[in-house]
Symmetry: C2
Subunit: 381 residues, 2 copies
């Protein structure tokens, strides 16, 4: 058993309507100013929280400026508003983009380090404001991870900031926040969460403590994703799905992702694809590439997806890939790169970009050379 180091949110509350209880946790900190980073469509669902904070004399500022995967420039712009407001508490309510930037704002307020000084792993020296995360998509798992991702405007690459200080103090998982997520976003974000679990379970650095989160996460997502895509108001499916996504988030800190995410990054940057969609487009192809290197682990994945055990682990594993293909198909989202405008001419550059994401490629159960990446992109075209 390899050594495991893991950071948890101090308090986790999960349940339909649980958000009603959050005011009490926040007022226990006696804050004067609370910054809510969110998106415009969530404001009606956050009104009760904001009103009850204001009724207790807390000054609340709401920022809805982040509407896509944030860049360094977006972060600086948001900080130009957040720094003078000087919140005691930062609440992020939204998908991965919103949670990631809320985490970074909480870490930056009152912190003399500039952003450049802490891009990377373990460079952030502290966080001086309370941080609350409220996921509103079942995908990112950012609420449970020490990671945040920003696009570097200078090279258009996604850069990771990884630090224990980016794990929130308090997390509320309320499926009611996810009911209005449209079917295509539900599908893409759900498959992203699934990929977090799968890449942790089949990871070179897999660990029995994390395996538990990964297997349960895959099971919950596989069982509930299509239900939630077809009927967004299915609260039970939404609840199981957002739990699966949280479990994927727990996988991200200590074990993290691998080749799907590494290959997905340049794809997302070059073609402005949503992170979940670019993962979903690559997922079955990376699984096929990887499974020969870890047939036992991929067989376990297949069993968690409800496949029966076949004659060999490899055969079981291949059935699992079939199940993932069916899941993507049943979600009704694009399943080929060509459908989203990726041409074969771009593949060499995409492969070159993927080779840069060494921090994730090193986790992959099978080494990925440039030619392998080319082959995977071509298979996915």
């Amino acid at each position: 058993m390899t050594e495991l180091k893991m950071y948890f949110p101090g308090k986790l509350v999960m349940g339909k309507g649980a958000l009603e209880r959050l005011t009490e946790d926040i007022t226990a900190w006696n804050p004067e100013r609370v910054l809510v980073v969110t998106i415009f469509p969530l404001l009606p669902l956050l009104k009760g929280l904001i009103d009850s904070l204001e009724a207790r004399g807390v000054v609340v500022s709401v920022d809805t400026g982040i509407v896509q995967e944030p860049t360094f420039a977006d972060f600086r712009e948001l900080m130009s508003r957040a720094a003078p407001f000087n919140p005691d508490v930062v609440i992020g309510a939204g998908g991965g983009s919103v949670l990631d930037i809320a985490k970074l704002v909480a870490a930056q307020v009152g912190n003399p380090q500039p952003l450049e000084a802490y891009v990377g792993n373990g460079l952030l020296q502290g966080r001086y404001r309370k941080l609350v995360c409220l996921p509103a998509t079942a995908g990112t798992g950012s609420e449970a991870s020490p990671n945040a991702i920003l696009v570097d405007d200078t090279d258009n690459q996604k850069k990771g900031i990884i630090s224990p200080y980016l794990v929130p103090d308090v997390v509320y998982i309320d499926p009611l926040l996810t009911l209005s997520v449209p079917p295509a976003v539900t599908a893409a974000t759900g498959l992203d969460a699934f990929t977090h679990c799968l890449e942790a379970y089949t990871n070179i650095y897999a660990h029995p403590f994390i395996d538990m989160y990964a297997l349960q996460g895959m099971k919950l997502i596989a069982e509930n994703l299509v239900r939630a895509v077809r009927d967004g108001n299915d609260v039970d499916a939404r609840a199981q799905l957002i739990l699966g996504s949280l479990l994927g988030g727990f996988c991200l800190g200590p074990v993290n992702t691998a080749a799907v995410h590494a290959l997905s990054y340049p794809l997302g940057s070059a073609f402005h694809l949503a992170h979940g969609l670019s993962n979903a487009l690559l997922l079955p192809h990376v699984m096929e590439f990887n499974l020969v290197a870890a047939p036992r682990r991929y067989a376990d994945v297949a069993l968690a997806l409800g496949c029966s055990r076949a004659a060999t682990d490899e055969a079981t594993a291949r059935a699992g890939v079939g199940k993932v293909r069916a899941l993507i198909r049943d979600c009704g989202i694009p399943s080929r790169l060509a459908e989203v405008g990726v041409s074969s001419a771009s593949v060499p550059d995409l492969a070159t970009g993927a080779m840069e994401v060494k921090r994730l490629l090193k986790n992959n159960p099978r080494p990925v050379a440039w030619q392998d990446a080319v082959d995977i992109f071509n298979a996915a075209l």
Copy 2:
């Protein structure tokens, strides 16, 4: 899905020899004084930690006064030494008794509330000192739970103190601390941890998030307990076992235990039996009593223990009880109350005592009346 509220230790480190890394975490808090609550036999294993803290100018005080399940009086006596020392950090290194009292010391130093004011659930108003827990038995799970138990000297009853403030800041799970635990203690504490998982999984308030910990915990303990009992130096078995025990601890906060623990409390108090042993003596009998009320859940337990699925859930569940009996037998500890000096004459009083433990009995999947408790004790005689 019912609402779940859970408190986590902020940082969890797990691995053979991981303890070597703890000094860094503690010195990051810049403490002047550190109190180590432990037992004498662990001192050689803690020497490296203590020496490295002292080498950094930290004043370390070591207290080895707690050698059995602590009473209110024991706590007061320990506080009479701890309060004047006024530690910035309290480290508990030991089994459940040591961890529980270390948690309470950390919560009491600098806290104007007297003990009487916070015995019960949710009454502690804060903790003003850092708390580190290092489990040295694979059993209690106290390192991951918001619970501490003290024996009330006035009525000889075990009283629970339950508070989010009793969850440690930092937990190190190092199997090397458990190698010297004797076989009988390994067995009893391991069966206690198993019972935490089982009673959470079959609980009225069971939750899918906790089910995951419970099932994985039962599996790890069932697979490794006899190995660790037979060869205490089997580091891999010890590592899997202490992970199972941690998972049992995660079950304790949000879901908690049920009738096994409720019936075990008066047994432990009246006959001075170790907590793990008194649970083990009752476990199969409570399982048999309960399984008719929750055959599906008890069948899942059996499957986690490696049983095959039988014709009905109830039959599968009964095979699980057989597996638990075999586990207890293979551990070589007493399996009948009569073997540890309990006579049938004491059963009515034991049953009356158990009926008092309403906070746990309410969790049980089948209501337990006084006569039921009498029958269970008699079956276990």
